[in-house]
């Protein structure tokens, strides 16, 4: 598989994540879309590492794993708190900043 195809897959996956963040209203689905973006970056990292050699990108991917895990843990805590406040997790309900 040429690198271009792999980067194309990664690009499409990242675009899906962006579209999910932009279009969906469910906070949980938005967090899942963020995970999609992180995974698209991971895919590009692994593919380029395969081409260039060395394991630096693998270490970087593991760092992204750590960040993703912490992000989900904190994000879920925030989602639960928001649900406790308004009994919904639709982002339309959280407009206190008049965004």
């Amino acid at each position: 598989m040429p690198l271009e195809h792999l980067l194309l897959f990664s690009f499409l996956l990242f675009s899906m994540g962006v579209a999910g963040v932009a279009l969906r209203k469910n906070l949980l689905v938005i967090l899942m879309s963020v995970e999609l973006m992180l995974n698209a970056v991971n895919l590009a990292f692994v593919g380029i590492a395969r081409l260039v050699g060395g394991h630096d990108a693998h270490v970087m991917v593991m760092m992204i794993y750590v960040v993703a895990a912490v992000e989900v843990a904190i994000g879920m805590a925030i989602v639960v708190n928001m649900y406790r406040q308004k009994d919904t997790i639709s982002v339309d309900s959280f407009d206190a900043l008049r965004g």
Binding site: M32, S33, H58, A73, V80
Partner: protein, 246 residues
Amino acid sequence: MDPSVLALYACCLLALAGGAGVIVLRNPVHAAISLLFTMLALGGAYAMMQAHLLAALQVLIYAGAIVILIVYVIMLLDQGREEVPHPFYPLGVAIGVPLAVLLVVISAPAFMGASAGPEPLITGPEDCTNCESAAVMVKKPDGSLVEASGCEDYVDTDNDGFTDCNDPDCHDNQLCYGTVRAVGGSLLGPFVLPFEVASVLLLAGIAGSILLTGRRPKELEDVIAGPAIAPAPGPQVVSGEGRGQA
């Protein structure tokens, strides 16, 4: 075509299908299962690209922990399905569609290999002349450094289309690429500082999520809030409720 390349394409396509499911399906549980498919397919793709440790971690951490956490929260919150926004906001369409077209126009040449920019990275034997400029120092098992470059070193060991002609490890250590030993050597060698910082980040994550979700006993609430100038007004609501609320 080599089976492993076919498998790589199949895994990537499955991942894309899963990603589409995440943003299209209305029921959050279905979206989470879709996300699980994406993670597993990406794990397969990593395995096809010889990133064995990452493939295992992908399944363990993403499919095994993160998706399960998401599913648990969906179960806890028990909210109904959501309507995908249907008439799209006109302003959003007016801004988003031209931006998307622009992005595709800019990036399409790179994917088609017709870029006027720098030469694409090595893609196959016919590009082997590029290897001349890709000389690398390869570390032999005995620790000595040898310069390896050029077409005579071109090897595509596993026929996956990814040449390893400037893969520092390909000559002696092809079998060890992407394994726990190799990645761990990087992780505990040059990257030991990020490794340690990651543990601090994880600790902060643990503390943060406990603070955010835990229902604290009342006396602890006072300690965390700092020395109160006046006693808390009125009877306390059930702990945890209304915290942080104006």
